[in-house]
Structure formats: C-alpha cells, structure tokens
Amino acid sequence: MRRKGVSYAKYGYIFALPFVLTFLIFHLYPIVYTAVIGFTDLKGLGKTSFKFLANPFQNFITIFNNPTFQVSLKNTALIWFVNFLPQILLALLLTAWFTNRHYHIKGQGAFKVLMYMPNIITAATIAILFYSLFGYPMGPVNDVLTSLGLIEEPIYFHIQKGTARGIVGFIQFWMWYGNTMIVLIAGVLGINPELFEAAEIDGATDTQIFFRITLPNLRTILVYTLVTSMIGGLQMFDIPKLFLLGGPDNATSTTSVFIYNQAFSGSYLYNRAAAASMIMFVIISSLSGIIFFLMRDKYAIAQKKIEKQHKNELKKAQKAAAKGVEA
C-alpha cells in the first residue's frame, strides 16, 4: 500500500543541518570575525577585547605599505612561478610519454607511485629534511657536488637569497609534479579514443597529435590545475616556515608566513594579521570564482547535451512514426 502525498522533503533539511550548522559556526563566523578584527586595535598576547579604529582602514594601509608584506607577496609569486612552470612542463611531457600508444612504457604503475610519493609525506618533515640535506659545509648535497667535482668549495645554500628561494621552489615542484601528472593522464584517458585513431589514419605525427588533439582537449583540466595550484601557492606555509623560518632576510617569507609571524610572535598584532588575511582572502576568492564558473559551465554543458539527445531521439521517433503511417 503506497500512500500518496507523503513528503520526505523535511529530511533533506534535517540531514543537511549538521553541515550547515558546522559551516556557520566554525567556518563562516571565523571569516567574519577575521574581517572585523582587521578594522580594530586588537593586539597583544591573550587580548580579546577591541575597539574600532578611528580610521577603519588604517591596518590595511599599514599592511600595504609594509615592506615585509610587499616582499612576502613578491616571494609568494616568485616561488610559485619557479615551481609551477617546470612542474606543468614535466607533467605534460610525462603525460605525453605515458599515454603514447606506440611506446607501451613498462612499469607505469610503479613510476606513478614513486613519483607521487613525496606529495603524501608531511611537508614539515620534508622542510627540515631539505634543511639538513642542503647543510653547510658538509651537507649531503654539498658532499655530492664536491665529490663529483662539480663545485670546488661547498655552497652556503642557506644564506644566499637566490639559492634559498630556489630550493623552496624546487621542494614544491618535487612534491607536486607527480600529482599534476596523474591528473593530466586521467584527463587524456578521458578523451574520445576515436579522435586519436582518426588522426593516426590521416597520418598525423605524435607531435601533431599532442599539440592538435591532446592539448586542446585538456584545456579545462589545465585551467583547473593552474588555478588550484595558484590557490595552493598563495597559502604556502609549512615549507617556507620550517625550511629557513622565512629567511635569509625574508627571502623565503610568504604571505602566510608573514601573517603567522604578525599574529603569533613579536607583539602579537592580530589586527594587522587579520587585515593581511582579508587581502589574501579576496585574492583567493576571486581565483576560486574562476573554478566555480568553470565547473558550473561544464555542468550546464553536460545538461544541455542530454536535453539535445532527448530532442533528437524524439524527432527520430516522430519521423519513424510518420514513415510508418506513410507505409
């Protein structure tokens, strides 16, 4: 016996409630609170009471004019770029090799597992490991380079701005290229294989196929990779914080390290850290907006495809019916 008119709609609300409540209390409220603190005089360890500033934007002005913040912003961009460019190029190259139908690379599974491995290891551990590896005068890297005769004197990696930034960028690259490669390979496997077959029959070379078919079809995934990497890069904290504590002379200080140092060391300037956080929040949110529209469009396109298919089938059925009548 099925009773009509029983509505289960209320369970939709009930089951979504824990998510909504948690989001409001632990995610939305801290965002609003951070924004509010940005306009106040809240500073000093253990302080919770605050007054709004006479000029509410004073903290933001101070942050924008703070040379350390400017350097941190520049470092974040620089380190991200130094890591992303080789990362995407290497990932694309490996993707082209691993998905090439003539090469049949053996041991692909093992290669993927080992190339992805650094990604899963605690970043804090990796930062300190690399600090030790690049030690001076007798760290393992200096040991290898001098033994091979590549350099005559050990290099003091930790006190030179260029090498310090370069190593942070390298660690990020080393941790993430495997991840990007796996995502791209999955993307290539999702492309309609008929496209490749047709191109091959037409006599296209591997290079032509890669640039004319593979790359254009990966466009969405490439944009997705780019934007998520930028969002991740803007939050870079563990490696620069623990590798050289943001040094030498703030050369590896990122915006996240800057925010942490403002709020949780020295004079505990929660208000300025909050203002800097909001600036980052706005930048990251705009980048997230790109992903949001990208995925929404994809969703809408898929929906339209299904509708179109329905219409075509309907037309065919009508035609068939009409033919049937004629006959």
Partner: protein, 279 residues
Amino acid sequence: MKKLSHKVMLPIIYIVCIFLVILSIFPFWIMIMNATRSTYEIQQHAISLIPSKYLVSNFQILMGKSFNPLRGFMNSFIISTGATVCTVYFSSLTAYALVAYDWRLRQPFFTFIMAIMMIPAQVTGIGFYQFMYRIGLTNNFLPLIVPAIAAPAVVFFMRQYLIPTLSIDIVNSARIDGAGEFHIFNRIVLPIMKPAMATQAIFAYVLNWNNLFTPLILLTNQDKYTMPIMVSLLRGDIYKTEYGSIYLGLTLTVLPLFIVYFLLSKYIIAGVALGGVKE
C-alpha cells in the same frame, strides 16, 4: 622512420623516468641511512648508501630531549581519526540529502557548496584562533576535529558518486517495510557508498595528519603537540649538532606514512586521478 625515432626515444624516456624515481627516493634513503650513523661520521661524509651502527645511541639522544614521537603520534592519531570520521560520515549524509530528497532549497544549497569549496582555512586563522581562545578551546583537540563535519569538496565528490549508484527503488521498498529515514541511511545507503568513503577517508586522513598551520596556532602545550609540530622541534637549537638524531627523528615521523602509502598506493593513485577529472 617512425620506428627508428621510437627506438631512440624509448631509452631516453626510461632514463628520465628512472632519474625522477631516484630523485623521489634518494632524499629519504639518505635520511634513513644517516639515522643509523653517528654525528662524526655524517660530518666526515654526509652521504652513505649503507647503514652504520649508531641507531641505538641516536635514539637515546633523540629521546633524551623534548622530542616525543610517541606522544605526537598518539595526538595526531586521535585528531586525524576523529576528523576523518566526521568528514566522511557527515559528507555522506549531506550528499544523501542532496540526492535522495526533493526539497525547495536543494539546488541553491548545492550551488552554495560549490561556491565555498575553495575557501581556505588558513586566511581565516586569526578569527578562528580568537574565537577558540575566547571560549577556552585552545590546547583542545575539539577545534581540530569538529569543523571537519563541513567539508564541501567531499560532499561534492560524494554527491557525484551517489547520483548514478543510488537506486531510489531500494530506498522506497525499505520505506514500505517501515524503516525510518535515518535507519535507511545508516543501514542501506552507507554500505553502498563504501568505495567512495574509503577514497575520501584516505585523503582526509593524510590531510589532517600533515596539517601544520591550525594545530600550530591552537596547541601551545607540549603534551598536545601533533606530529608536524613535534617535527618542527628538530629544527630548533636543542638538536643543533646532533645530526644523526635529527635524521632519526625525521625517519620516525615518516615511517608510518611510508607503510600506509605502500599498502594503499593503488587506491591513492586512483583517487588522485578521480579528483582531477571530477565533473
């Protein structure tokens, strides 16, 4: 012509791949070998491909100071387990609400979840810290576990998994048998979602285990330190020249991850691939 170029390319490809594999393994190999070597040996030659015999003395020096890997392991274990259970269970529940019920705010709610998916926890850290400080929850594990209930990206993934898998007929027949909605979710829907839950559980666990920022601002009591905070002690002055002990400490923090990774690598790689092509 084509064949020839392939013959030239194949060795190059293998050489590059093997080089990259060595690049992945080598730092960890040196770390493990140096964990067994004395500080003097390391200072003479920082690289050795074979172990030495100072593991025990390194361990004694390591444990003689504030670094306590067992405590860090236990704390990280409690936090990661709690947060993972919260994330996986409540994300499944929320996804079920989105798929199985027809409520008026369903579509707006889904759009909302997609919009908040990328909001990073880090930039709201100041407000979160002040909030927790005011209600006396610093040095407490709850602020590191409970917020995991709302994980928009996991809800999104679970929903995509549930749409083609869930048959509403099964749900309806259970209803006819008189089962309550909550019971149906726990007894019928959750078992269906097991594969998706396993994938998401692995990633949630690793994410929480490796998290440094939030624990670092909330936990100031040494007894509450998580593994990543414990690791950061190795960077400080107390172990300054005890190289062997530093490498051993690092090794101890990485070991559980290695074991888990090589047991589950198949699922992890598949999960990464799935994450990139989510539509």
